[in-house]
Amino acid sequence: MKGTRADPMEGAPYLEFYLDRCAAQDDLVPALSPLLSPVVPYDVYMPDPPSPDTISESHLEVKDTSSDFSSVDLSFLPDELTQENRDHIAIKSQHEIEDNGKTQNHQNKLPLPSEQNGEVGLHSSSLSNSYAHLHPGAADSAQPSAEKPTTDALPLVAMTPMTPVTPASECSGIVPQLQNIVSTVNLACKLDLKKIALHAKNAEYNPKRFAAVIMRIREPRTTSLIFSSGKMVCTGAKSEEQSRLAARKYARVVQKLGFPAKFLDFKIQNMVGSCDVRFSIRLEGLVLTHQQFSSYEPELFPGLIYRMVKPRIVLLIFVSGKVVLTGAKERSEIYEAFENIYPILKGFKKA
C-alpha cells in the first residue's frame, strides 16, 4: 500500500486497485458477471483487457467493463464456497461498482476489515504463483504497486485458453462467449423479391433453390433471409443489440428499395454460446451417470448431447472440454446452463 493519506476517500482507491489486481489474477472473478440478473446491460459482459495507458492514467479504470453489481444476490453460490472466497467476491463486487461509478457516489464504499485483507492477500498470493509465469513482469504480485500495470493481457474470457489451476471454489470462473444470435422480425408488407435482388448489391435470390432473398451486410457481419410475406430472419450477430441493429439495417435497405417496411415483433429466437472448461472429459462416464439427459453416440457424433431441463438448453460436450450451448432465448439461460453443467463436468475431470 502507498503511504498514508489523510483523506480516507483517497486512500481507498489504492486499496481498490490492489484488490482489483488480486482479483484479476484470480479466475474466480468473472464468475459474477454471468450470474447477474438481466438488469445488467448486456454489453457489459465482455471484459476488455485494459491497456497499460489507461491504467497509469487512472487506477480506477482498471477494468473497462462496467458491471453494475448493486443487486448481486450471492445465494446461488454453492455451500462449499469458502468464507474467504465469499469475501473475495464481495470485495470484488464492491470495487467493481467503484470502478464504473462515475455517476454513482461512493456510498457502496467497501468496509474493509484488516482480516479480510489478510485472507485475500493470502488467497491471491497462492494463486498468483501459478500465474506468475503468465506475468513475467509481476514477480511478486502479492505486493500492490499502483504504478505497475496489471499485465492483463489476461482477459478473463473463456476463449483465451489459460493455464488451468485447481480452482479454490466450485465457481467456474469461465464465461461462455456468444457466437450466434438468430432473430426474426416482421416488416409487415408484401415484398417483391425479384425487385430486391435486382436493386440490392448484397442480395442473392435463387427461387428454384430457396424462396427467399439472402442478404448480407458488413457491419454487424450478419446474414438475413427475407421472405415475400415480409418476414425476415437475421443470423450471425454476436450479441442481442448487434442482432437488433442488423435487423434494423436490413429493414432500412428494404425501405430504401421502395417498400413500406416496418419493424414489428423483433424477437430473439435462438442464442448459441461456447466455452472451454480446459480439462478433458470422460464422456462415457457422463452418459452413464446422466443417462436421462445425455445422448452419446460416438458412431454418429464425437460429442455428447446433453439436454438440460432447467433452463431448457442443449449442450454439446466434447472430450477436449469444449462446450457449445444452444437453444437459449436469453443470455442468462446460457450462463445459467453453463454454471449448472460445470460442477457435473468437474466430476469427470480425472480419468
Binding site: P164, P220, L300, S320
Partner: protein, 419 residues
C-alpha cells in the same frame, strides 16, 4: 347360423351354412335365398385344415394395421432373422416399431425413413440387450445412408423416450475379432499368419482397454480402434514373421473391411506403447521405434497399469510442478496458449519427463488462436446513416447493366449450341 343375420327376402332368422360345390354359403332355410356366398376365412390356408396360427400371420391384423406398417413389421422380422438374433429380440423390436407408428410424425414420414426405422428398432433392441451391433452393419444391410439413419435414430429415441445403453466395447471386440478369417490356413492365409483365436482375442481386449484408458476411444468411432488393436495383437504374437505385413494387407487377408481412421488409431496406439516402453528399464536401452515396440507388446501389456501411471501424469499436480520448473528457468516463455505445449518445450530439456495423458485433440497445438472479440458497445438503437445503407444499393445505371447482363446470359443459355 343362429344369432346373426336375417334373410333379406323373407326376414327369417333361420340361416344355415351349407356348401355348394365346396363353397360354403349362408342359405335361408325358409325361402332358400342365398344370403352370402363364401365366408371370410380367418386363415390363409384352407379352412379344412383349421390350423391355429398366430394373429400376426392371420388376416385379422390386416384390418387394423396399415399396409406400410405391415411391410415394416415384416422387414423387422426379416432383419432379426438375418442377424440371427434371439427370439425375444424380435418381439421387442416389433413392439418398438408399433409404438413408433402411433406417432403421426412417423406415419406421415417418407418411405425411406420408414425403411430406416426398421433398422433403428432392431438396433435399440440389440443395445438394450448388450448385443454388439454397429450402425454401420445395419446401414449396410438396409442399403441406407448413415445420415438418414442417424436422423431417424435420434428422432425415435427422443420420441419414444427410450434409454439406450452405450455400445458394449468388450462384446464388440469379441464379435468383430471372430469375424477375422485368420484362424485356419487357407490359400490366402499362409501358415505363419494363422493365429489362435483365444490368444488374439485376449490380447486385443487388453489393447482396447489400454486405448480406452488413454483417451483414444472417447469421442471416436469404436470400430477403427478395434481394427488397429487386432492388428497389433496379431503382429505381436509372432512379430518376426508378421512385422512386414501392413494393416491394409492384414485386413484384406482377413476378409474384413479396413475403416479409414484405423491407420491413424494405429499410430496413436503405438505412440502410447512407446511412451510406456520408455518406463521399462530393459526397454529403454533398446531405443525402440514404432516397429520394434511391437515385439514387446506382451511385456508392456503385462505391466500396463503400472507403466501407464509412470509414463503419464495428468491433472494439476503435474502442471504445478512444470510451472514451477518454468519459473525457475526464467519466464521468457510468455504465456503459452495451452499449458501442455509449454510442457512439451520443457520435455526437450528433460526427456524423461512424463507426458500428459490427454485426448489427441488436446495434444495437438490449436490451428489458429481464438481472438477475444472486442467489447461491443452497440445498443441496437443507433442511428443508421443513409450513406451506409446506400452502399448496398445499386445505382440505376448499375441496375440497367445488370439487367442487360442477365438477359444476355439467359439468351446464351437458351441457345446452348450457337452456330
Amino acid at each position: 347360423m343362429p344369432g346373426g343375420g336375417r334373410c333379406p327376402d323373407c326376414g327369417s332368422a333361420e340361416l344355415v351354412e351349407d356348401s355348394h360345390y365346396s363353397q360354403s354359403q349362408l342359405v335361408c332355410s325358409d325361402c332358400g335365398c342365398v344370403v352370402t356366398e363364401g365366408v371370410l376365412t380367418t386363415t390363409f390356408s384352407e379352412e379344412s385344415n383349421l390350423r391355429e396360427i398366430t394373429y400376426s400371420r392371420s388376416t385379422g391384423e390386416n384390418e387394423q394395421v396399415s399396409r406400410s406398417q405391415q411391410r415394416g413389421l415384416r422387414r423387422v422380422r426379416d432383419l432379426c432373422r438375418v442377424l440371427q438374433l434371439p427370439g425375444t429380440f424380435e418381439e421387442t423390436a416389433i413392439t418398438y416399431y408399433q409404438q413408433a407408428y402411433r406417432h403421426s410424425g412417423i406415419r406421415t414420414a417418407r418411405l425411406q425413413k420408414k425403411e430406416v426405422l426398421v433398422g433403428c428398432c432392431v438396433l435399440i433392441t440389440c443395445r438394450q440387450h448388450n448385443w454388439p451391433l454397429t450402425m454401420g452393419t445395419i446401414c449396410t444391410l438396409l442399403y441406407a445412408d448413415l445420415d438418414v439413419f442417424s436422423g431417424a435414430y435420434m428422432q425415435i429415441v427422443k420420441l419414444l423416450g427410450l434409454d439406450v445403453p452405450s455400445l458394449c466395447l468388450t462384446d464388440l471386440v469379441k464379435t468383430y475379432c471372430s469375424s477375422f478369417r485368420l484362424f485356419r490356413t487357407s490359400p490366402s492365409v499362409p501358415a505363419k499368419y494363422v493365429e489362435d483365436k483365444d490368444q488374439m482375442l485376449s490380447r486385443t481386449l487388453q489393447l482396447v482397454e489400454l486405448a480406452s484408458e488413454t483417451w483414444l476411444v472417447t469421442g471416436r468411432h469404436p470400430l477403427p480402434v478395434i481394427t488397429a488393436a487386432t492388428f497389433l495383437a496379431w503382429q505381436s504374437l509372432r512379430p518376426s514373421d508378421r512385422l512386414t505385413c501392413s494393416l491394409a494387407r492384414f485386413c484384406k487377408m482377413a476378409n474384413v473391411d479396413l475403416p479409414y481412421p484405423a491407420a491413424s488409431r494405429l499410430q496413436e496406439l503405438v505412440a502410447i506403447l512407446l511412451r510406456m516402453a520408455g518406463q521399462l528399464a530393459w526397454l529403454q536401452v533398446l531405443k525402440l521405434d514404432k516397429r520394434s515396440v511391437v515385439k514387446h507388446i506382451g511385456d508392456l501389456l503385462q505391466h500396463r497399469h503400472l507403466l501407464l501411471r509412470m509414463a503419464f501424469q495428468d491433472g494439476s499436480s503435474e502442471m504445478e510442478t512444470e510451472k514451477k520448473e518454468q519459473q525457475r528457468q526464467g519466464q521468457g516463455r510468455g504465456e503459452e496458449e495451452v499449458g501442455h505445449s509449454a510442457l512439451d518445450l520443457s520435455k526437450g530439456k528433460r526427456p524423461a519427463s512424463p507426458a500428459l495423458l490427454l485426448p489427441p485433440c488436446m495434444l495437438k497445438p490449436p490451428k489458429r488462436t481464438c481472438p477475444t472479440p472486442p467489447v461491443s458497445t452497440v445498443t441496437g438503437d443507433e442511428n443508421i446513416s443513409d450513406s451506409e445503407i446506400e452502399q448496398y444499393l445499386r445505382t440505376p445505371q448499375e441496375v440497367r447493366d445488370f439487367q442487360r447482363a442477365q438477359a444476355a446470359s439467359q439468351a446464351a443459355q437458351s441457345v446452348p449450341n450457337p452456330p
